[in-house]
Symmetry: C2
Subunit: 228 residues, 2 copies
Amino acid sequence: MKHDVSPDSIPPRGHEAKRASIMDAAGEVFCRESFAGANIDMIAAEAGVSRQTIYNHHGDKEKLFVAIVRDLTERCNAGIFATISTFPDQPKDLEADLIAFAVRMNRNCICNRDGKFLRKLIQTEGERYPELFAEWREQGPGRTWPAIAARFARLAHAGFLDIEDPDVAARQFLALANAELQTTFMLGGTPTDDEVLQSATHGVRTFLRAFGKRQPADAQKHSALAGA
Amino acid sequence: MKHDVSPDSIPPRGHEAKRASIMDAAGEVFCRESFAGANIDMIAAEAGVSRQTIYNHHGDKEKLFVAIVRDLTERCNAGIFATISTFPDQPKDLEADLIAFAVRMNRNCICNRDGKFLRKLIQTEGERYPELFAEWREQGPGRTWPAIAARFARLAHAGFLDIEDPDVAARQFLALANAELQTTFMLGGTPTDDEVLQSATHGVRTFLRAFGKRQPADAQKHSALAGA
DNA sequence: ATAAATTTAGACAGCCTTGTCTAATCCGTC
DNA sequence: GACGGATTAGACAAGGCTGTCTAAATTTAT
C-alpha cells in the first residue's frame, strides 16, 4: 500500500523552483491519495524537498490544498480559453475542423495533467469545500460554456449550422466529444490519442447529423462513410 | 468540520438489521469522507451501532469497504438491467418514449442514492483498488452498454432509427441524456426532477435529429418545436 | 426462565500524522 | 571569503485512528 518515496529525479534549485516542485508534487499526491489520505511526508519526498520547506511556503496542509486547487483552476481555465480561441469560425471543412477542435479541447484541457488533477480533486473533495469549488464552477463551466456557445451561435448565424439553442448545443458538443472516454475518466485513466480521436470523430459526426445544414452551400462531402 | 454524530434515527433490531444499517452508514460515510477520511467511529455512530459490532461483522476497514463496493455494484447493475427491460421496443411516440426511458435511467440508476455513491467511490478510490473496479467495469458498463446497444439495434432494424454503429449510438444516447447534469454530478449534487427531464428532453431531441428517420412511415410529428 | 449468542461501552497498545522547534548546512551575493 | 536567507534532518509533543480485549448488558431462542 505504501508508495515509492524516491525524490522525483533532480533536486530543484532556487526558491521558486522549490515552490513549483511542491505544487507539482502536492497536486499529484492529493489527486492520487485524496486530501485525507495524503500526508506531508509523501509530498515532501515526491517534491524532493524537506517537510519543513512545505510548511515554510504554505503554512499548513489545508492552505496548501487550497493553493493547489486555485492554481489548477487558473491554469485549466487559461488552457480552455486558449483552445476556444482556436474555434473554427470560418471552417473550410466543417467536420474535420470541428473534430480537430474537439481533439484539441480534450488533449489540452481535459486529458492533460492539469485537467485530470482538477477533475479528480473536484469530484473527490468538492463537497468538503463548497465555496472553493463554487468559485471553480463560476470561473470554469460558468464562463467557458457560454464562450463555446457563442462560437457555435456565430457558426449558426454564418449558415454553417442549424441550431436553436447554442447553450444546449455547446454542452451536447462536449458531451458527445467525450462520450467514449467516460469510463476511462471515471477510473482516473488517461485515454490514448487514438481513443480521443475516435470519440471526437464519432461525436462530431453525430453532432453534425443533428445540427448540420441539410443542404449546405457546397454539398456535404463528408458523410458517415469516411474511414477512421 | 466534524459531522453530526446522532444515531440514524431508530436503533435497529436484530442481526441482519444491524448488518444493513452498517452497510448503509458505511456507504454514506465512505462516500462523503473518502476511504482515508472515514473512520470507524463515524460509521458506528451513523449506523447506531457500537464500533465492535462493525469489526464483528466485517473484520476490518478495508474488508468493509470492499463489501460496500460490491454491494453497490450489484444493486446498481440490477437497477440498470431492470430499467433496460423497459426500453421502448415498439414505441408509439418515439421521442416521448425515449425521453421517458432516459429519465427512468437517470432517476433510478444514476441519480439515486446507490448510483451516486457508487460513482463517487469509483472516482475517488478507483485507482487504489484496480481489480475491484475492473470487476465493476466488466459487470457494469461492459455488460450494460452492449445491452442498451442491442435495444437500439433492434429499434433501427425495425425501421425507427437510422443507426450504423449501435454501440456508438448507445454511448452517445447516454452522454446526451446527461449532458446538462455533468457539473452537478462533478460536485456530488443530485439534480432535481426538472433538471433530469430537461437534460433528457434536449438530449433525446438531438439524438433523434441525428439518428431519426428523415421520412418515417408516419411523418415526424414531434419536431424541435415542441414545448418543454 | 434459562442458556446461548450478540451487542455494548470503555480502556488500551501501537502506529501514524500534523505542526513546531533546533541546530547544522547549503546557496547566491557582495 | 564572509554574510544572510533558505533549506535540511531529526527530534518532539499532541492528538487521532485502528484493531483488540474485557466484562457487563441485552437480545434471541429454547
